[in-house]
């Protein structure tokens, strides 16, 4: 397996190690955790010489080829530099965290998140594919969220983490958009192709938007103005996290991104203006804000913002040398800032406070740490012989050599110097306010030096600051060159890494910065007073408030639209239906087609008038529910007659039986419902609804008229032709039902069965109010089972069953069938319930309706399955004619069996519904009446 792939994989594997080793001591856990990243670092170092020689390693595995997404890794100079920072500082942070975290903290979880982050970060810098880079980019957001919120029970940590995630997540979305567009412009998501197509990209019309999108991604991650505010709030994280994420890695991802795409995107005015102006603003703002922080980490966070601004400014200048300076400052900032965070963590850890108003004179208590911290902060201030000085000199130098702002280009060096002044001032503040400035005030603990090994990471980093500061080209020369080479995609300008370049303007600027910084710090009280005039806007509170407002607005909106009113929802459904269908209807030139119409006759007119009147009466009297039921029955009856009139006897039969059962059901329900509907619709609502109904009615009427008057060529001839020969029946409708489209029927009886089960569920445990008098307040009649009704119903039952059998048997050849027969049987049984009551029936009729449903559906299905035995598809029908002496010729058909299934289901379902509903109010259950 290739080494390159091993590097991220080892780290990925490393995320599991801490989870498995939590049960061991914290030291063991830390060492085990460090092992795999250490190996990874070793591997990187092994590859380093070749890379420094100008080689580039690449490897790729396909992941989602159709998206152009592959797992592609590369290790070139820039990746190498970042990998070293990520792995090296990461290892130091692991060591440091072992001491920093208390025994209450779940160190395994912490290390898991940390290594996950390390993996994500490595992935970003080693990516050789745009989408993959974004994947890792987002992973850094997620893992940093987990790290920042490590102490999730603290409100600050939760809010800080959310803010960081929201801002960087937003940036991630912009970045994704940018990267996708970039890839689409280039035609490939391979990094090298993109880097090589700079000219094409800059020439493309999408260039500005791509640049803006990618830069927003970078700015959010690197805490550039105006997205800088999340970083100070991320300080709620444990300090090792800050030392790692907020100095060397996470915040540098944005910087890395800009450096990475430098060859593709940089070199235009847009780039210059956006990047350098943002950088400059951030540089100054961060420095200024750092000055006023009382929180040690807050100061460091703002200084980080400032330094990130500085690097951004350099990247924006557009000169290759500036890029070199930027990369150099990336290294330097990583080392001194990581050590400073660690030092701050030590101070916090050993003294219990990070407030610089409490922390004073720690020199006395922890001189060794103080020394380290002071060296590091001097590096931050840009004091000679330390690494910060060198890169800052280069920075000053670069500010002098740009002229993109035309006649006001002079402002850039001036402002840069001002930034330098600020950084000296806050560095001084860090040193003086913490280690000197009298005695500590009300510290929770008496401070002392930290454990030996907790200092090691700081020592290493400070040593690096010194080493780079004194022997720059020996320590980082090659690395810097190779990184710059990679970032520039070749062609590194000449530059010199030396401590001394002679007396020149940059040196003067440095001197001004040092002196100015001293002056500023000396007069800090005035500045503090000046600053105190401004209201302090805690970005955290503002942000939370903004989010809260967003949520409130959303809640208002949802409350406003989803107001829980069915009438409104129905209104939308109807309106949409009207709109989509009325719109095309406007194009219909003539409603009537050319198909000859059937002439009118008195009967039809009578039917139409009766139907219309009954329908209207149902609407007009809908609030008198019983009357509405009666008019509804009339409508049902006329519809039945209409079906008969227009040659659909099966429909007439079905419609009629269904209608009667429906009315019975409605009556059963009406008993428990109010007898009248109150008048509550406002006149406006009524008019509106009338309008809607009229429109839908109009549309439906128009459409059906248009359809009926146009000729139609259908597939139906096939059915009439094959009904007898292929389906064995002369009633084509029935043959369609049980044979041609038997599958529909199977579904239909399933629906019926399910409905019955569902209704059973509804009825179960229903607590009903049983009225003891009717709507007039009259008590119910005492005659539960009228004599004549009982006697006649009993006699009619066998007759009804016979009719049912008749309808069932003839169905295949004549109007009828299992469904209608089932309903007749059900109605006949219901009539017995009506006449005799539930108790009487219960003693006499022992039918398990549930089993009937199950077996009905089962029989129908099994009939269908029978054809499998003959190698035919489901529901293939079979029929044949037989001859028996005496009886003569008769037909047997599988459709009969299928229809039996239908019959059983219908009876079972209808009776399960009605009998159970009736049972609700039997004498044993009268208890409900009292409860209600």
């Amino acid at each position: 397996m290739n080494t390159l792939l091993c590097i991220p994989l080892l780290v990925l594997l490393g995320t599991l190690v801490p989870l498995c080793s939590t049960r061991y001591s914290r030291t063991a856990c830390a060492f085990l955790t460090a092992a795999l990243p250490a190996v990874a670092l070793f591997l990187v170092l092994q590859l380093a010489p070749a890379i420094l020689d100008g080689q580039r390693f690449q490897t790729a595995i396909e992941w989602v080829p159709s998206l152009g997404l592959s797992l592609a890794f590369r290790l070139d100079g820039l990746s190498l530099l970042f990998s070293l920072l990520i792995l090296g500082i990461g290892l130091l942070v692991i060591l440091y965290a072992r001491y920093y975290l208390s025994s209450n903290d779940n160190i395994g979880k912490f290390f898991c998140y940390l290594i996950l982050f390390m993996f994500a970060m490595l992935g970003v810098v080693m990516s050789d594919n745009l989408i993959q880079m974004w994947v890792f980019w987002e992973l850094t957001s997620i893992s940093s969220f987990l790290l920042i919120s490590f102490w999730g029970h603290k409100s600050d940590a939760r809010k800080g983490a959310r803010m960081a995630l929201t801002i960087t997540g937003t940036g991630g979305l912009f970045l994704l958009a940018g990267l996708l567009m970039l890839g689409n412009v280039v035609g490939s998501f391979e990094l090298q192709t993109v880097l090589d197509s700079g000219d094409m990209i800059r020439a493309s019309s999408a260039y500005p938007i791509i640049t803006v999108l990618i830069l927003i991604g970078a700015f959010t991650k690197s805490a550039q103005f105006p997205f800088h505010f999340w970083l100070p709030n991320a300080m709620a994280a444990p300090t090792p996290v800050s030392a790692y994420l907020h100095s060397a890695t996470m915040v540098k991802a944005g910087i890395f991104l800009m450096a990475r795409f430098y060859p593709s995107l940089a070199g235009t005015d847009l780039w210059f203006l956006m990047v350098s102006m943002t950088g400059l603003a951030t540089f100054l703002l961060g420095g200024y804000l750092a000055l006023f922080q009382h929180d040690l980490k807050g100061l460091l966070a703002n200084s980080t913002i400032s330094h990130l601004g500085l690097i951004t400014l350099l990247l924006g200048m557009g000169s290759d040398l500036a890029l070199v300076a930027a990369i150099f400052h990336i290294i330097n900032h990583a080392t001194f800032k990581a050590s400073l965070f660690m030092a701050a963590g030590i101070i916090d850890h050993e003294s219990g406070s990070r407030d610089m108003r409490q922390l004073n004179g720690l020199w006395k208590y922890m001189p060794y740490t103080a020394t380290l911290a002071m060296v590091a902060s001097m590096a931050m201030a840009g004091v000679p012989l330390l690494n910060g000085f060198l890169s800052k000199e280069m920075f000053f130098n670069e500010t002098l050599h740009q002229n993109s702002l035309g006649s006001i280009s002079w402002m850039v060096p001036v402002l840069a110097t001002l930034g330098g002044v600020l950084s000296v001032a806050y560095s001084l503040r860090f040193i003086h306010d913490v280690f000197f400035n009298g005695e500590p005030i009300n510290l929770p603990k008496t401070p002392h030096e930290p454990p030996r090994y907790m200092r090691v990471p700081v020592e290493v980093l400070v040593a690096l600051c010194l080493a780079v500061g004194i022997f720059p080209s020996f320590i980082v020369g090659d690395l810097l060159y190779s990184a710059s080479n990679a970032a520039l995609n070749g062609d590194v300008p000449s530059y010199s890494l030396a401590i001394w370049h002679g007396f020149n303007i940059p040196l003067l600027m440095s001197a001004i910065a040092l002196v100015g910084g001293l002056v500023v710090y000396y007069n800090r009280q005035h500045l503090f007073k000046f600053q105190a005039q401004f209201p302090t806007n805690d970005p955290k509170i503002l942000f939370e408030r903004a989010i809260q407002q967003l949520v409130n607005k959303a809640t208002w909106f949802i409350g406003f639209t989803e107001n829980g009113s069915l009438q409104r929802y129905m209104y939308f459904l109807m309106m949409l239906t009207i709109v989509v269908s009325a719109y095309p209807l406007l194009d219909l030139d003539a409603t009537a087609g050319h198909r000859p119409e059937i002439p009118l006759d008195a009967l039809s007119i009578t039917g139409a008038v009766l139907l219309s009147l009954a329908s209207l009466a149902t609407v007009i009297w809908h609030r008198r529910r019983m009357v509405a039921l009666l008019t509804l029955s009339v409508v049902g009856l006329i519809v039945t007659l209409a079906f008969a009139r227009f040659s659909a006897p099966d429909l007439a039969l079905t419609q009629l039986s269904v209608e009667v059962v429906t009315i019975i059901l409605l009556m059963l329900a009406l008993f428990f419902l109010p007898q009248k509907t109150p008048k509550e619709s406002s006149p406006r609502r009524v008019v509106r609804d009338l309008g809607i109904s009229a429109m839908i009615g109009g549309i439906v009427g128009t459409v059906i008229f248009a359809l009926m008057t146009r000729p139609l060529d259908t597939i139906s001839d096939f059915f009439t032709e094959n009904s007898k020969t292929g389906g064995g029946g002369t009633n084509v409708v029935n043959v369609i039902l049980v044979d041609f489209r038997g599958f529909d029927t199977l579904g239909e009886i399933t629906v019926l069965g399910i409905a019955a089960l569902g209704i059973f569920k509804l009825i179960a445990r229903m607590r009903l109010y049983m009225p003891s008098s009717n709507e007039q307040g009259r008590p119910w009649s005492s005659d539960r089972h009228p004599l004549m009704l009982s006697v006649v119903s009993q006699s009619l039952l066998p007759l009804a069953l016979l009719v049912s059998a008749y309808i069932f048997l003839r169905g295949h050849n004549m109007p009828g069938g299992g469904f209608i027969a089932g309903l007749i049987t059900s109605v006949a049984i219901i009539q017995q319930y009506v006449a005799h009551g539930v108790d009487w029936i219960k003693d006499r009729l022992k039918l398990d309706y549930q089993i009937m449903i199950g077996s009905g559906i089962g029989i129908a299905t099994l009939t269908g399955l029978g054809s499998w035995l003959f190698g035919r598809p489901f529901l293939t029908s079979w029929f044949d004619y037989f001859y028996l002496p005496v009886i003569g010729k008769f037909e047997l058909a599988s459709a009969m069996l299928f229809d039996l299934g239908v019959f059983l289901t219908v009876v079972g379902a209808t009776m399960l519904i009605l009998a159970n509903l009736g049972q609700l109010t039997t004498s044993e259950r009268a208890v409900y009446e009292e409860e209600a």
Binding site: Q776, R778, P786, M788, L789, L796
Partner: protein
Amino acid sequence: MSFYTELLITVLLVIGGVFLLVGSIGLARLPDIFTRLHGPTKATTLGITGILLSSLIYQTITQSRFSVSELLITLFLLITAPVAANMIAKTALHRDNPAIPRTTGQSLMSKIRTRQPADAQEED
């Protein structure tokens, strides 16, 4: 079809139609629910019987096979019509629908409603 069968069918039909109409006129015209009951229960039943009989004859002749299934409907209606009338009357009484003032025997109505014997003493 011979003239006489056609005549028979026609007569039956017309009788049926007329009585159906009479029943419905009764329903519409008579003054109270109890008098209205008579129309549908009797006239309509006869009317439908007439129509069913004519259909029976007609179908038997035209289809040249014995089509007496109409008898079943007639039977059915004869059995059920009185019960329906009884149920409707019960409902009307239960809900205190008034009879027209000149109805005799109105004193019975409260007894009928409560299904007491006719010779029972008034409670108050």
